[in-house]
């Protein structure tokens, strides 16, 4: 029986939509995040498609594209991130996934998006792109800075871990201290608890690179992404000079790991080091590791490496689709710098 793809009508098919997501991507609480992720995004509602076999109600797969404003070569463009891609186990024969992947190109082919991009975290996610002859545009790596070794050693040695853990923590601290730089001139680092204001939009608009691609960080986007997220809480640190916002970092905390979701701003020679130092100082007693996800070519990589972060693994590949022979397609073929972090690849 043939397999086809059709758009999802979120108002009338919400239950079917949530059911197939929950069945095939069970680790996420889809109902709790649906309205926020699919409807309340300030860049617009998501597009979604069902793959079905035979009759339209026999749904066997689903995917979506989430609109995302991006700075592309210094110009603001509406792009889209592919996500929530799921196919029933009995239909993972590549054909349904190919149909769904092609459907995500529709808003691009119809001129509604400049390009769409996907960030498969593992090689299996690249199979449709390989079949379509689309190559990845860049890789995203996980960088990590160990803060403590207590938990690791306790798991291995039990009570005997106390002395080796103290020695290990001291060595790690000395290793980090050897990379320290004095805090940037007149920079004040502080926790930002209020909503993101227009000063963040101004900073975003002021920081342009002619050959780079990155997500827009408007106040509206930041508030939606980090203040209204129903599943996660974030901590924000700002770097200011005489009250003026120069840079900021967004952190997600778990019991052991601090993830730097975003680090963005001006004067990175000063602000990146100052923010990273502040993050280490703040969490070196309570957390085991600081991690970040950075694309190849991101200017942040150099700062993280100087701060003794280590490249640990490949976390994702970024694969973009623009309309063939379009101006955007030409721009992407010139190998621009993908300045991506968790801010662009996470949802």
């Amino acid at each position: 029986m043939s397999i086809s793809v059709r758009p999802v009508h979120h108002e009338s098919e919400n239950q079917e939509f949530l059911t197939i997501l929950q069945t095939n991507l069970p680790s996420l609480p889809h109902e709790r995040r649906f309205k926020w992720l699919y409807r309340d995004n300030p860049d617009g509602p998501a597009w979604s498609w069902f793959a079905f076999q035979g009759t339209p109600s026999q749904v066997i797969g689903v995917t979506s594209v989430f609109p995302r404003s991006m700075w592309v070569g210094g110009a603001l463009q509406l792009c889209g991130q592919v996500g929530d891609f799921a196919v029933s186990a009995s239909h993972r024969s590549l054909g349904p996934a190919l149909l769904l992947q092609r459907a995500t190109f529709d808003p691009v082919d119809h001129g509604e998006l400049a390009f769409c991009y996907d960030c498969p975290p593992h090689p299996a996610g690249m199979s449709t792109f390989r079949r379509l002859g689309i190559r990845p545009n860049c890789k995203v790596h996980r960088y990590a800075l160990p803060l403590r070794v207590d938990n690791q050693l306790r798991k291995r040695l039990g009570a005997a871990a106390v002395v080796p853990a103290a020695a290990g923590n001291l060595l790690l601290r000395l290793h980090r201290l050897s990379a320290r730089k004095p805090r940037g001139r007149n920079l004040e680092i502080s926790v930002h608890q209020a909503a993101f204001g227009e000063e963040f939009s101004k900073l975003d608009a002021a920081e342009q690179r002619p050959n780079a691609i990155r997500g827009r960080r408007s106040a509206a986007h930041l508030n939606w992404r980090y203040k209204q997220d129903p599943l996660q809480q974030y901590e924000v640190l700002t770097a200011r000079r005489k009250g003026e916002l120069i840079a900021f970092a967004v952190l997600r905390l778990t019991a052991e790991v601090v993830t730097i979701v975003d680090l963005f701003g001006a004067e990175l020679d000063d602000t990146a080091f100052s923010l990273l130092t502040a993050i280490v100082d703040r969490f070196e007693r309570s957390h085991q590791t600081v991690e970040a996800f950075l694309s190849e070519g991101s200017e942040l990589v150099a700062y993280f490496l100087k701060m003794r972060f280590q490249l640990r693994s490949e976390a994702a590949q970024v694969v973009a689709y623009a309309r063939p022979q379009s101006e955007m397609s030409g721009f992407l073929e010139k190998n621009p710098i993908w300045s991506f972090s968790q801010a662009e690849i996470g949802a």
């Binding site: 397999i3 009995s90 239909h91 024969s93 590549l94 996934a97 299996a124 199979s127 449709t128 079949r131």
Partner: protein, 86 residues
């Protein structure tokens, strides 16, 4: 099943057993589901399709990448037979 069919099944089975450790672990039979059991994921199907195209000189179109054609070793063999007219 004819001799050619038996030979096809054996070639496909050998490829799957060589390439996918889960197939060896589960000691799959020719009628066992490969997709639902997790023996093959989409990347595995891609590898299998490349093998089928090269080894049996058939072209597999995107709309032929369906569970009907790739669900079991028996079905893959039947699909190749239908494509090559043997």
């Amino acid at each position: 099943m004819n001799m050619a069919g038996n030979h096809l099944n054996a070639q496909i089975r050998k490829f799957i057993l060589d390439k996918f450790p889960l197939a060896r672990k589960q000691q799959i039979k020719d009628s066992d589901p490969l997709l639902e059991s997790g023996v093959l994921d989409s990347l595995g199907v891609l590898d299998l399709v490349s093998f089928v195209e090269q080894e049996f000189s058939v072209h597999v179109a995107d709309d032929e990448l369906t569970p009907e054609n790739f669900q079991t070793i028996d079905r893959i063999a039947a699909f190749i037979e239908s494509k090559s007219g043997t």
